[in-house]
């Protein structure tokens, strides 16, 4: 079902866990659909210096959270805003059709976290 890269991110998730003093947080999903993700970012000089996630969800949800954090770490906020859920799936080498729309929401959570940060610094 899942390819090896997805399995690797699921088994060895990068940047999993809470962050204690985040610059911004973003959360998406709901209990009905079964996947909920929260992204924490630490921003310095308009760059994502650190990032972490918490996810309740299926293998695809965990792997895409992990992949997203790896993708954007060190990127500027503007660069990070351009990353889409589809980019995440592509970097994972693809996800099963059924998972593309329900479990692949990490970029949305990131964008919310950036908005959260921006709303706070304004």
């Amino acid at each position: 079902m899942y390819n090896e890269k997805v399995i690797d991110h699921f088994q060895n998730p990068r940047n999993a866990g809470e962050m204690f003093d985040p610059s911004g947080v973003g959360e998406v999903g709901n209990m009905k659909c079964g996947d909920i993700m929260k992204i924490f970012i630490k921003v310095e000089n308009d760059r994502i210096e650190d990032i972490s996630f918490l996810t309740f969800g299926c293998g695809a949800a965990i792997a895409s959270s992990s992949m997203l954090t790896e993708l954007v770490k060190g990127k500027t906020l503007d660069e990070a805003m351009k990353i889409t859920n589809m980019d995440v799936a592509n970097h994972l080498g693809g996800l099963p059709e059924a998972k593309l729309h329900c479990s692949n929401l990490a970029a949305d959570a990131l964008h919310k976290a950036i908005e959260d940060y921006r709303s706070k610094v304004q």
Partner: protein, 407 residues
């Protein structure tokens, strides 16, 4: 890596004696049972012997057994068949909310064709209340179908009572016994059901073959048209090796059911006990006592079922879940929802179904693996963190989670 199969509710490995019984029918005894020459007659003899064995195992007469391509076809034949045969008499049908899709979706299809379907509710343990059946029955009710044992939560229904109520009213009663055969005793001499479905691969027989018991005199339409096989009720060249395998499997399955069930229930209770004791925030789904001897279904809170299955699978444990993420649909198990579980608890369900080859060692090993997986997944679970935080500072309210649903 050690692999432990705990998904016997999905399918079972075939018994070696079943394969042995089937092999001649892939070889010399290859005739078509409808042919009148010696090749055909050998085949016919094996077919009729298989029918006799199957009937004997169920307390039925050979003429009451129709072989099908599996449980799904048997369920469809029973339900569509009665609906067609009796549509002149009435158009009201009754089933339960927790049936397998082979039953539920067939009723749904009929409800689009002018039949009216009443779904009986279940209690939190997944049990149908016979009083609800009594209230639901109408003068134009032509069929009631309630499964003998549920495939997800293992709950055993009061089939004797339900079928007796229908018999008294003169309403046909069908039961999907796909999960029951081989696990609990079934004697059709005493049980007043009119139709009963079974599927060989659930009791160590081959895939792609099942049977429908049709009590003598029961009126039944059909799904297929064609040759004269199975008294024209189910045409098509018979899957003879499969049918021989089914007969051998059911013959083996009914030997000492009480003894085998007791041993398996002991293992089941050991597994349930360990999970409830060793992992926090776990609840048992299904009935505590009236359940299949091999069925364990728990909800492990704050962990999503598909992720847990995947992690267990990577560690060699094969299980299943009622999580929406395992089903392809966006809905969690209709069975767990009918029992009143909330979405989160349904998403965190884990089904472990034991088989005859599982040992206490397997069970203990599986518990260790599950403990580790749950701990790992909870460590990154937002819901678990929220729960811990709330537990540590009970005054903090739980945050609302926003929802983005895309399709």
């Amino acid at each position: 890596m050690k692999r432990i199969y705990l998904d016997h509710g999905a399918t079972t490995p075939m018994h070696p004696q079943v394969l042995e019984a089937m092999l001649p029918f892939f070889g010399q005894v290859f005739g078509n049972p409808s042919s009148i020459h010696s090749f055909g007659r050998e085949a016919r003899r094996a077919l009729e012997e298989s029918r006799e064995k199957t009937a004997l195992a169920l307390g039925a007469a050979p003429g009451e057994i129709i072989f099908t391509s599996g449980g799904t076809e048997a369920d469809n034949l029973a339900i569509q068949g009665v609906a067609e045969a009796l549509s002149g008499k009435g158009r009201h049908l009754i089933t339960s909310a927790i049936e397998h899709h082979a039953v539920l979706d067939t009723f749904k299809a009929l409800s689009k064709k002018g039949f009216e379907v009443t779904l009986l509710p279940v209690d939190r343990y997944g049990m149908v209340d016979p009083d609800d059946l009594v209230s639901a029955l109408r003068d134009d009710t032509i069929l009631v179908s309630v499964m003998m044992a549920n495939n997800e939560i293992g709950t055993l229904q009061p089939i004797e009572e339900l079928s007796r109520i229908c018999r008294e009213k003169g309403v046909y009663f069908h039961t999907d016994a796909v999960q029951a055969i081989g696990n609990i005793p079934v004697n059709l001499k005493e049980l007043p059901v009119d139709l009963l479905s079974l599927s060989a691969h659930k009791f160590y027989g081959p895939k792609g073959v099942g049977a429908l018991f049709v009590r003598r005199g029961t009126k039944l339409g059909k799904l297929f048209f064609g040759g004269g096989q199975e008294k024209k009720q189910r045409p098509g060249t018979e899957n003879l090796p499969g049918i021989v395998g089914l007969a051998k499997a059911i013959e083996l399955a009914v030997v000492d059911i009480p003894g085998k069930a007791a041993a398996m229930a002991a293992l089941r209770d050991r597994l349930i006990g360990s999970l409830l004791e060793q992992i926090e925030e776990v609840q048992l789904n299904g009935h505590p006592v009236q359940r299949l001897p091999g069925n364990v279904n728990v909800s492990i809170k704050y962990v999503e079922g598909e992720g847990l299955l995947l992690d267990l699978d990577l560690k060699g444990i094969a299980a299943s879940s009622g999580s929406a993420c395992t089903s392809g649909s966006l809905e969690p198990s209709h069975v767990l929802m009918a029992c009143g579980l909330d979405h989160q608890t349904a998403h965190g369900s884990l089904r472990l179904t034991l088989g005859h080859n599982n040992t206490a060692e397997d069970v203990d090993y599986a518990v260790e693996i599950i403990k580790g997986s749950v701990a790992r997944l909870r460590e990154m679970s937002l819901l678990y963190k929220n729960y811990r935080r709330k537990n540590d500072n009970p005054q903090t309210g739980e945050e609302e989670t926003s929802c983005i649903t895309k399709k």
